[in-house]
């Protein structure tokens, strides 16, 4: 097969197409047409489409590379500590992401998972917390000053200016105002809420399934 140049190339191509077809196209066939789930109890469909500002915020999240330290995928309650850390009551499933232009699943957890940031109980952060973290950073989190304007107060103090105290406070007569990018990023983070249910996310009778699966 290798001696003959033509069949060698055909073999290579076939190998490539099998891999591509098996994984990329195979999963596309299964999940490409996944629809939102109508929850009768709630009387509406989930997941909901992100609103305009939040959708733009996802682009900021992507271009800053937030996904290099934060994941957005909750594992099931008996697999890891995701539930115990309050990241989500159930595992994330494919349907959660169907409205996202570019899902940011991430692969490293230097920081916490953000899938359900706004739905965390009891202590979901508010916009003020997030903006302050982004501006000041911490021992665990970078600061992103470029997302803020430190500017002279002209006339009235801006409503969205951060309330900073102590050494972080801006010079007198100045204020720190989040830019539009910071605002959309925070709006996106506060739209991350998966506290709704999907039937496939709470599978039934795992023990029975194991047996039947093996005999099939």
């Amino acid at each position: 097969m290798i001696k003959n140049g033509f069949f060698f190339f055909v073999g290579l191509l076939v190998a490539f197409v099998i891999g591509w077809g098996g994984i990329a196209l195979g999963s596309h066939k299964q999940l490409g047409a996944l629809a939102p789930y109508f929850d009768d109890g709630e009387g509406s469909s989930f997941p909901t489409r992100p609103q305009g500002v939040a959708a733009r915020g996802q682009l900021v999240y992507a271009d800053l590379g937030c996904a290099s330290c934060h994941t957005q995928q909750v594992r099931r309650p008996d697999f890891g500590s995701d539930k115990d850390r309050g990241w989500g009551e159930r595992q994330s499933v494919a349907r959660d992401y169907i409205h996202q232009g570019r899902p940011q699943l991430g692969s490293l957890r230097v920081g916490p998972d953000l899938t359900n940031l706004a739905g965390r109980k009891p202590s979901a952060p508010d916009a003020e917390d997030l903006l302050k973290l982004l501006y000041t950073g911490s021992a665990l989190h970078p600061s992103y000053r470029f997302l803020f304007d430190d500017r002279k107060i002209v006339g009235q103090r801006s409503e969205s200016a951060l309330r900073l105290l102590g050494s972080l406070a801006p010079a007198p007569g100045h204020e720190v105002v989040p830019t539009e990018r910071a605002q959309t990023l925070v709006a996106y983070l506060l739209s991350l809420n998966t506290s709704y249910e999907f039937p496939e996310a709470r599978p039934v009778a795992p023990a029975v399934a194991a047996k039947e699966g093996a005999h099939k």
């Binding site: 299964q30 999940l31 996944l34 789930y37 009768d40 109890g41 709630e42 099931r76 595992q91 499933v93 494919a94 249910e197 999907f198 039937p199 496939e200 996310a201 709470r202 599978p203 039934v204 009778a205 795992p206 023990a207 029975v208 399934a209 194991a210 039947e212 699966g213 093996a214 099939k216």
Partner: protein, 222 residues
């Protein structure tokens, strides 16, 4: 081995020419089968190993593939049967509270006391905690005319039709009706037993489509 005598790090000497390298390796691949059946141990071992790996991979795939179902995310679970979208068990009290807050609260109020003289109370009401047969009918089909609750006469009850029946104002499913009934029989110090979806469904099947009840019809029931 024709090893180079000096090992100056600046230059690795070649020990074979390209042509002979090609020819020698080609000879190995082009070799005829061992006619005297002197199979070397290593090739056989490798073949066994390869088969073993294929066997392992196949078994593993079979065991943990979740039957290649697109809805199986836990490799130990069964595929969710088609139409079993209600596999999620929702707490009826939570569901019932939601329904109550969406519909009933307008008249009967959050505290379940209603409005004196206009809307009868649910808290401590004998209609709520008493006969299940009456309560289910009252809520599914609604009620008109005078009604007496906790000894107080309400001249013109206008309980709307809640269940999934003809001319219903809300078309709530049996599950939701059961949930909201369970909720009101449990809240505000009431202590009635829960009502199941099946009970509601049975009564709806028995009565079919009909107009709202009046007090006397209900009182005839057990």
């Amino acid at each position: 081995m024709s090893s180079p005598s000096n090992h100056d790090p600046r230059l690795d000497q070649a020990a074979a020419s390209d042509e002979s390298l090609l020819a020698a390796h080609e000879k190995v691949l082009g070799k005829q089968p061992d006619e005297k059946a002197k199979y070397k141990l290593l090739p056989l071992n490798l073949l066994f190993l390869f088969s073993g790996l294929i066997f392992f991979a196949g078994t593993y795939l079979n065991r943990y593939s979740g039957l290649f179902d697109s809805h199986v995310f836990n490799e130990n679970a069964l595929p969710t049967p088609a139409g079993a979208a209600t596999a999620v068990k929702v707490d009826p009290l939570v569901l019932g509270k939601k329904q109550y807050e969406a519909i009933c609260i307008n008249c009967h109020q959050a505290n379940g006391l209603g409005l004196a003289g206009t809307f009868p109370p649910l808290a401590g009401s004998e209609w709520v905690t008493g006969s299940e047969e009456r309560l289910i009918r009252l809520v599914v089909y609604g009620m008109t005319g005078p009604v007496k609750v906790k000894g107080v006469e309400y001249s013109a009850a206008a309980m709307p039709t809640i269940g999934k029946v003809k001319d219903s104002a809300y078309n709530l499913s049996d599950e939701k009706v059961a949930a909201v009934l369970t909720y009101i029989r449990h809240e505000w110090g009431n202590a009635g037993a829960g009502i199941s979806t099946e009970q509601v469904a049975a009564i709806r099947a028995k009565e079919g489509d009909r107009k709202p009840y009046v007090q006397d019809e209900l009182l005839k029931l057990p």
